[in-house]
């Protein structure tokens, strides 16, 4: 095995071109588990922790460009108000030690359906910036997850950053785990309201082969709010509407039975989480008036 530690992004991309099988490592919270348990023996480990720009974030117009190597702890401490949904999801990741090391870039690289950041990224309509020596491209996060633990990266590409628009309305996140800390999600749900264009963003975690949105449910909720004039009146969210939204979110999922929970439980809890997050977000929206 080789251990490469490029000091610059250009050198990191050159290394990934030379060794397409190289496994990138940042916080190590996924990669090292595989190594410790002898699950994989990559020919090359590509340590990205020395590339300065990966650990930076910046405000670019109406969006945050989040370097792929910014840790969850820093998202919580530095971006809580600008990326509220992602910050909520970040608070549910592992433990302080894990949040100190784990990164959103790593979550995307692993592309586990259970990754905590994914529902928040989907609801916020994020884009993943990836690069190779051939150039840089931006992939809508909805197109980034292509299978169980598979993503849209080409063999010579690395994740450089995540673009997330500043919130135009409330965002919420909910996760069911087997306990409060150190829990991989049984299932999770992210929601964002876009009052200026009367739209709703959704993200489902751990309840399908990939993280995915609930497009039909989101349209249903947005249109129902519109038809009842609720975006303007900011009147209470009818309970029946929240419940129907939850049922439709459930319809967008296709979970399996596994060690963490049954498919039936996931569907049930997903409907409840969707209804609850809609209620919480709507309460935030009413307060913001």
């Amino acid at each position: 095995m080789d251990f490469l530690q490029p000091p610059t992004w250009a050198q990191a991309l050159a290394a990934k071109t030379e060794y397409p099988g190289a496994v990138p490592i940042a916080g190590g919270t996924d990669v090292m588990v595989g190594l410790n348990f002898d699950r994989h023996r990559p020919e090359v480990l590509l340590d990205l922790t020395r590339v300065p720009e990966l650990t930076q974030w910046s405000l670019e117009g109406q969006a945050i460009r989040l370097g792929a190597g910014v840790t969850y702890t820093r998202i919580i401490n530095e971006l809580g108000s600008r990326l509220p949904g992602l910050a909520m999801a970040s608070r549910t990741v592992g433990s302080p030690q894990i949040r100190n090391r784990g990164t959103v870039g790593g979550n995307l690289g692993t592309a586990s359906p259970a990754g905590d950041a994914h529902p928040a990224l989907l609801a916020a309509e994020a884009e993943v910036e990836v690069a190779s020596v051939r150039g840089t491209r931006r992939i809508p996060v909805t197109e980034f997850y292509v299978g169980v633990k598979r993503n849209a990266l080409e063999a010579d590409e690395l994740i450089s950053a995540i673009w997330i628009g500043l919130p135009s309305g409330p965002q919420q996140f909910s996760k069911i785990g087997t306990r409060n800390a150190m829990a991989i999600s049984v299932c999770s749900f992210g929601l964002a309201l876009y009052p200026e264009r009367r739209a709703v963003g959704t993200g489902i975690g751990s309840a399908a082969p990939t993280p995915r949105i609930a497009a039909e449910a989101a349209r249903f909720l947005a249109d129902s709010l519109d038809e009842a004039g609720l975006w303007e009146s900011r009147a209470e969210l009818p309970r029946s509407l929240a419940i129907e939204f939850g049922e439709r979110v459930k319809g967008a999922a296709s979970p399996i039975d596994d060690v963490r929970g049954t498919a039936a439980y996931r569907l049930h809890s997903l409907a409840i989480m969707a209804a609850r997050t809609a209620g919480w977000a709507w309460t935030d929206y009413r307060k913001a008036a």
């Binding site: 080789d2 251990f3 090292m32 588990v33 100190n100």
Partner: protein, 161 residues
């Protein structure tokens, strides 16, 4: 490969490191520092918690090469030879140590908490220690130890001022 790193204030040059091994393995097997414990090897239990450039991390999830040029502080580095750190002393006095396997990680996590927060509330203590598992104590004595250490450190701090 060779890894150059500072461990508990001493510059170390460690040879014959396998590229895929963890910082934890380097500390325990190559540097004679068995304080950090090897238990779950997947970041679940916190018993290998060390400071890496001042930030608590599970040493089992840090690739050895990632410590190149960095500063590592282990539980051994918290006390002087003659005296225990107040956090360690509080763990002893409060009966927070039973089998002792989780203790080094809890001591480092507590040390970090009290550096950041002088008088943590109980929810803050629980959150700070959420990544450290103990199967003996039921955690009550550990919470007592953290409260005791916080009280002593903040009293000492006030006396020093």
């Amino acid at each position: 490969m060779r890894v150059n790193t500072t461990i508990n204030g001493t510059q170390r040059e460690i040879d014959d490191v396998w590229e895929g091994e963890s910082l934890l393995y380097v500390l325990r097997e190559r540097c004679g520092l068995p304080g950090s414990k090897n238990a779950c090897e997947q970041g679940e239990c916190g018993s290998c918690t060390v400071y890496l450039d001042g930030v608590p991390a599970c040493a089992c999830l840090v690739a050895a090469g990632q410590a190149e040029g960095r500063e590592v502080v282990t539980v051994e580095g918290l006390s002087s030879e003659a005296t225990l750190h107040p956090v360690q002393q509080a763990f002893v006095e409060a009966g927070a140590v039973q089998c002792g396997f989780c203790t080094p990680g809890l001591v480092v996590a507590t040390h970090d908490l009290l550096e950041r927060c002088e008088r943590p509330s109980d929810p803050e203590i629980r959150e700070a220690l959420a990544g450290n598992l103990c199967r003996c104590t039921g955690y009550e004595k550990i919470l007592d130890a953290v409260r005791l250490a916080a009280e002593r450190l903040s009293t000492d701090g006030e006396a020093a001022r």
